[in-house]
Point group: C2
Chain length 213, copies 2
């Protein structure tokens, strides 16, 4: 009897991610996998992005959360299609769950599908969802030493959003140290210094995002 | 032939954790598993705690990091035994790695062994290390909605440290909302409101910690 070997979980995730990517390309949907630690400001970024771009782009959102639908509730007011994936303890989204929720969207009527991943700077970076690209987000309040300490995400991402720049005067965050650390990990990556509460730097993010679509 | 079934990873982790716990009890070492998301202030808490308590307690530290030994370097000045575990991508420490590093400490000369877990509010809560208790740490900059969104850690912990209270005036953090959220998850848990950079609230933390030892 032939012994069948189960492919490992990352291989299976990658196969399904390839399937998702092909489907999204056919439907001309750009999928953005938004990754950060807890409370770096992913949902607030999506609020600002919806306010600015829903008149020009058809936006959809997948909200990945361990528990609660709080983030989705915050986005309801923009009248966009939103699907919540509760991982019930799981530390990241995977391509299988994304593949399933795609059926719940009318993809013909979506230009950009944002996936707000579970708040976790580690595990989501390992799981390809079939996204067009990943965005790494980090808050100044987390300190300037994060790229070197959590290198995988900063290597994988297409751009970095450094949020909460308004808090810099009240913390020991050193922007030069952060940039030096980031350049060592990923020398070419665009960095957007933003404050989602104040609006600083968001125009550059919107402009860059529009160029990707 | 009898078919042997490999016990799942959490079972094996629990078995080894029980072994670690027994060993630490014999050696009269209290092990504190310190868990937070990235940049909530775990290392700064250990700096303040070493400054205050090394004259009264023999402290050791295990530094869990995905990459780099930066946190350990920050603690070197206190002249305490420190062992770094680099998980090389891994999102949490487990009891097997803790069991191995215990051999590197002179346990007879340690009262408290702090384990600074990988910066991750999700996975470390699932893995018992054989610790005497877990401490959940969260920064005000992460927002007041974290207990409900990451319930497992707040259920598992023996106390919660809310750090960076000095940033509250510059954020939309609402302390009442945070407390309401926390009480729903764990109604009895002690909460320490602290600022590790300013020193606010740390006396209560030191006093509580000394009572556990």
């Amino acid at each position: 009897m032939e012994i069948k070997i189960m492919k490992n979980i990352l291989d299976r995730n990658q196969d399904k991610a390839n399937e998702v990517r092909k489907r999204l390309e056919q439907e001309k949907v750009v999928m953005v996998n938004l990754i950060s630690g807890p409370g770096a400001g992913k949902t607030t970024l999506l609020e600002r992005t919806c306010e600015e771009l829903t008149s020009r782009l058809k936006i959809g959102v997948v909200e990945g959360d361990i528990a609660t639908d709080r983030d989705a509730q915050r986005l309801k007011k923009y009248n966009i299609p939103i699907v919540v994936i509760n991982t019930e303890g799981g530390c990241h989204l995977d391509s299988h769950s994304i593949s399933k929720v795609l059926d719940l969207f009318d993809l013909e009527n979506i230009d950009v599908l944002f996936v707000e991943n579970v708040g976790n700077l580690v595990c989501p970076a390992h799981f390809n969802l079939g996204e067009s690209f990943k965005i790494a987000m980090v808050s100044t309040a987390e300190g300037d030493d994060k790229p070197g300490k959590y290198p995988m995400l900063f290597r994988e991402a297409k751009a970095v959003l450094l949020n909460k720049t308004d808090l810099i005067p009240y913390t020991n965050f050193n922007l030069n140290n952060f940039k030096k650390d980031l350049i060592k990990i990923n020398s070419q990556i665009p960095l957007f210094e933003i404050s989602c509460t104040r609006g600083d730097g968001l125009k550059e993010w919107f402009d860059w995002l529009l160029l990707q679509i």
